[in-house]
Amino acid sequence: MRTIISVIGKDAVGIIAKISAILSSHKINVLDITQSVLDDMFVMVMLADISQSLVDFPSLVSELDSLGNELGLKIHTMHEDVFNSMHRI
């Protein structure tokens, strides 16, 4: 399964490093990463393969959510298909 991890909020030092640290500790491979500024917001999007993940999906969601709260950012972790089905015909 592939998941989209999106980060929205104010830019700061070390966001990508902190998220990557969590992902690598769970053996989650980052396939692609992009960042941009949209509507005055910093937006970073990661595509990750969680098929070898050492933790189950709800735990990953909650761990990244907590990190988001800690950093004052919104981190969403959602199945890739949500976006594919909505934006691709």
Binding site: Q35, D39, L47, P58
Partner: protein
């Protein structure tokens, strides 16, 4: 990879604009639960529902987590219980309602629909027993919903059933008088009822359906409203395009969830119902979409035209997004469940008669409308007859869910909280239709029913 703008748009729809899956409803056939002994029949019903839907709630919750999209309700619809009432010897069939209620509590769904009958042409013994039991069944259960189909375009209108339902609605109000007559909020009278509607209170598992099926109802009035706001001063053709595009995206989400729920539960996918279903929450209102289109307040002249455009564009956008579209599919206009409708009634800009006109161009009917508690059964029957006529003549589903709130008059309010919301009691015409209703019989099917 997907672009950030698209990802941000989806997240915004969910976070800020109340995009959600309104319901995942499992339809379950109970036709194999017949038994002449009512206790045995009740036991079979309970067992079958619990067996079929044991994983419904947990599966929906897993999908909710993985996909990050809220699934507000998990529900069950069953074969019209009148078909089982035909088999049981006992005339009192309320034990079957209790079995449904108990099953709903066990599997953790918030509503179970199907305690109803299809009597558009006539009554069987079971139909009569079932209909007579509705007021008590709704009073002694928490989660059971009831619907009765009294007319179709093919069969005409069973006015005996219409007359009977006026009395049943009154009785349901009285038996739940201590709870703002909430029994009536769980009772719908239909014309052209759909067999695969996932929304309550009118959901039931039709006789043409299979053993078990997953139907999904999407929502998202807030998403449509915000899209119209962002578009600014465009003309109405452009506005219809915006609604279509938005409806497409919303429905794709519904299709994805329906497909996943179907696969994981190993139950066939039935339909996606692409309705705009409001909730009392701010930013989740169909009335506010109409106002965003340019009406000062819903109920103003122009409301019916705006709603017609909205309803049509939602269907056009949605049909391409799903393999099977069904149910009611369109805009819902329940008064108590829509903050904008409630405000418009309070302000005096939305009348009962305007609501009736609006139902001619959208997907349901006179829905969740509180009327004075002293309204007679004849007047309620006549309200039903009028609304059902609109459905029969226009070859569409219409429905009546009115609440004659016991002890309350115009200016008072009923308050249920949660999704059912609150409603100001509305003024209605009290001139007597008694003689017309007492004529009974069947209103013949309209000429355009002759299609063969």
């Amino acid at each position: 990879m997907l672009n950030s703008f698209d990802i941000l748009e989806t997240i915004k729809m969910i976070e800020e604009e109340h995009l959600d899956i309104r319901t995942v409803t499992m339809g379950i056939s109970l036709r194999d639960c017949c038994d002449s002994d009512i206790d045995r029949c009740a036991e079979k019903i309970y067992d079958k529902i619990c067996r079929s839907a044991k994983d419904l709630v947990s599966t929906a919750e897993t999908i909710e987590c993985e996909y990050g999209i809220p699934i507000i309700n998990k529900r069950v619809s069953v074969t019209p219980i009148s078909m089982l009432a035909d088999c049981v010897e006992s005339a009192d069939v309320t034990k079957l309602a209790k079995a449904l209620d108990k099953a709903a509590a066990t599997i953790g769904v918030n509503f179970i629909g199907g305690y109803g009958a299809l009597v558009h042409k006539g009554f069987t013994r079971g139909d009569t027993n079932l209909i007579d039991s509705i007021p008590e069944a709704l009073a002694i259960t928490n989660n059971v919903c009831s619907s009765v189909n009294v007319a179709t375009t093919r069969a005409g209108i069973n006015m005996d059933a219409v007359a009977r339902m006026g009395k049943i609605v009154k009785e349901a109000a009285h038996l739940t008088a201590d709870r703002d007559s909430i029994g009536c909020a769980k009772l719908v009278v239909f014309s052209n009822a759909t067999e695969d509607n996932p929304f309550m209170a009118g959901a039931f598992h039709g006789v043409g359906e299979g053993e078990c099926v997953i139907n999904v109802g999407v929502s998202g009035p807030g998403v449509v409203q915000k899209a119209i706001r962002r578009a600014g001063d465009c003309d109405l053709a452009d506005l219809a395009e915006i609604v279509k595009r938005t409806a497409f995206k919303i429905t794709r989400m519904g299709q994805l969830v329906a497909r996943e729920a179907s696969r994981r539960l190993n139950v066939p996918f039935g339909i996606v119902d692409l309705s705009l279903a409001p909730t009392p929450a701010i930013g989740d209102s169909v009335a506010h979409i109409l106002e965003e289109m340019g009406l000062e307040q819903v109920g103003a002249h122009g409301t019916t035209a705006a709603l017609a455009l909205l309803n049509d564009a939602v269907k056009k956008g949605g049909v391409m997004a799903s393999a099977h579209v069904g149910g009611l599919s369109g805009a819902f206009i329940p008064v108590s469940e829509d903050a904008g409708m409630i405000d418009a009634v309070r302000a005096g800009s939305l009348s009962f008669d305007k609501l009736e006109a609006m139902t001619a161009v959208c997907s349901v009917g006179l829905d969740m409308i509180a009327i004075p508690g002293d309204t007679t059964a004849d007047v309620i029957s006549a309200i039903i007859a009028d609304e059902i006529s609109i459905g029969v003549v226009n070859n569409k589903t219409t429905a009546v869910r009115v609440i004659p709130a016991v002890g309350k008059g115009v200016g008072d309010e009923v308050n249920y909280g949660g999704l059912l919301g609150s409603a100001p009691v509305m003024n209605i015409n009290t001139k007597s239709p008694a003689k017309f209703i007492a004529r009974a019989g069947r209103i013949p099917a309209p000429i355009h029913s002759q299609k063969n």
